[in-house]
Amino acid sequence: MSTKALWASAFLAAAMLSPAAAQSQQPPVLIGVVGDFSGPVAPYSTAALQGAQVALDELNAAGGINGQRIQLRPYDDRNDPVEGATIAKRLGDEVLSVIVTSGSSPALSMGPVLNRAGLPFITTLSSNPAVTESGWKYANRLHLSDRHQIERIIQHALDTDKLTKIAILYDTSDLGVGGRNIALKTLEKRSVKPLVVEGWKQTDADFSSQLIKLKSAGVEGVIIWGAVEGAVRIAQQMRALALDKVQIYGGGGLVSQKFIDLGGSAVEGTIATWAYLDTSTPIVTALEKTFESRFKSKLDIFGAQGYDALRILAQAISTAGTKPSDRPKILEAIRSMKYQGAVGEITFGPDGENIRKIYIARLKAGKFSVLD
């Protein structure tokens, strides 16, 4: 870590000492927050850190963990997997437990290191299935995994929309290929054979050969798994081939203003999984008020997941203990708790995957709204 980054985290850590904590005599319980605070996914990581800060103040005001105050220690990985692994090596000595708010690449490079150190951690941004499927005992995810999203969207297409003629289009990135493999397995379990399975490179601009296949196969629905730009081009070119009756299905990445702005009328009707934040519950209303007055930015799902992640860790630590040797018990406590948080009711499966309802959204009149 550079001197500058050291100073930045020291400053951040100092800024987060709550007034109540200063009076406490016992050493604080240290929780690390690793994320991208200055790179491409900084908005998401920062939102999660801010959510965690709100939770921190609430917890410390309520007496911390059995009288011991909690302290957050942020680490900036700039979304760089190498930096992430370097940070992860130090965390075992520096903090009791970790919240990982980074994107998938650093989350995956940190995973094995944190696991070897026996540090219970919760990721709040990565959707890559590998986070919970690589056999890392100490990994927990508080976000939607691509596997669950694809299983859910396929279930919606087959059961709710009653479609049988399905195509899969994926971009040839890790995300797209991973998604294709999950989609193929899921469809196979349901004994549905996809009529077209075609890839595209992220630089590709012309999709006519893929789309003509869709047309001649008489496809009713297409699952598009990849970057937003590709999905938009596909939707626009589908229109040029009079394929606008074909239902487009996608993942949470499509539920964004960018997709709506770029796609215009061509993406109207798109159905996608959504990491939806229900703002009508009392817990979210209260969090929204504190969050937005303190940080002057809108509370989103990532802020809420950061908030929940720290509360889950605090609850687990309060039952398990605050010594490094208590870490296995902390993990056990995370896996056995039933937590009612901002993002709804959450439990963690034996693999560390959070089990919660995945919403389906539909784009109508330029706005995504919950369909199911």
Partner: protein, 290 residues
């Protein structure tokens, strides 16, 4: 299905041809490759998107303004990057390296100005019309029409006007043309302005279907280059043949094999054609009487 594949291959080929035309214009006048050519195309797409969305300019004005700005950038790149090398008769390898460097500079500037986000550009029409069972959109017709028109106009310009003659003379023998009273520096500026303007027009035409984004030039570079080479470089109409071959080859491969083979087949065709006709399909003599 077959005819629809052919049609989409023709449209894609038309785009390649238009971008390839920029390569040919510069090659025809200064016998060098300008690898920054596709950055003028990117610039065209980005400027057009900005003029339409940010400044709400009428369509025709936005098109003209975009082409003029791109042409000025073309003139500027000739003046700053190439002129001294060209007048001193630098080795072709040096010119190629300089053009690659120029491409990186232009791309970085575009990235600094517009960022990485893609931009949406309104189309002239994306709702397909059915003609004899084939689906074609007004935007696609517009692309093909513009390509043919530009190729025709450029051919007439090169062969029917004194300026065109002067350009060809410059390409043929720079020293001799200079001695015969051709104003060399103006010729160099003119050819870069033309190629950049045509490149920008390519960007304007495709941005509505493909979105305007900083990386659009990189994505088309190799294909357009292949189309120019296949067409024979020395021949303006050749780019149509080259563009069509590449566009059709990749679309047929994508439709009947798999989209994973699109590039493989397109470039296999390029290698095959060059093995049989090393100077391209319509490329003939390198010496000509002007």
């Amino acid at each position: 299905m077959f005819l629809q594949v052919i049609l989409s291959g023709i449209v894609v080929g038309g785009i390649y041809a238009l971008v390839a035309l920029g390569f040919v214009v510069v090659y025809r006048s200064v016998t060098m490759f300008n690898f920054a050519q596709t950055e003028y195309y990117t610039l065209g797409g980005m400027l057009f998107a900005t003029f339409l969305a940010r400044y709400q300019l009428p369509l025709v004005l936005a098109v003209l303004l975009t082409m003029v700005v791109a042409a000025l950038v073309g003139i500027l790149s000739e003046r700053l990057a190439f002129r001294r090398l060209l007048l001193l008769g630098a080795r072709p390898a040096n010119l190629i390296i300089v053009s690659l460097a120029l491409a990186v500079v232009l791309r970085s500037v575009i990235l600094l100005i517009w960022g990485t986000d893609a931009r949406q550009v309104p189309t002239l029409g994306n709702n397909p019309i059915e003609i004899a069972g084939l689906l074609v959109t007004p935007q696609q017709i517009f692309i093909l029409g513009s390509t043919l028109l530009v190729v025709a106009l450029l051919h007439l310009f090169m062969h029917r006007t004194r300026l065109g003659l002067a350009l060809r003379a410059t390409a043929s023998n720079r020293t001799m043309a200079g001695l015969m009273g051709v104003p060399l520096t103006s010729m160099l500026a003119l050819s870069f302005a033309l190629s950049a303007g045509i490149g920008a027009l390519g960007g304007i035409l495709v941005a509505p279907i493909l979105l305007a984004q900083y990386s659009m030039g990189q994505a088309i570079l190799v294909k357009a280059f292949a189309a120019a080479i296949l067409g024979g470089l020395s021949n303006v109409q050749g780019v149509i043949v080259g563009g069509l071959i590449i566009g059709l080859a990749e679309n047929l491969a994508g439709a009947y094999l798999s989209s994973a083979y699109k590039d493989v087949v397109a470039f296999a065709v390029l290698l095959g054609v060059l093995a049989l006709r090393p100077s391209g399909i319509l490329g003939g003599r390198t010496e000509e009487k002007v």
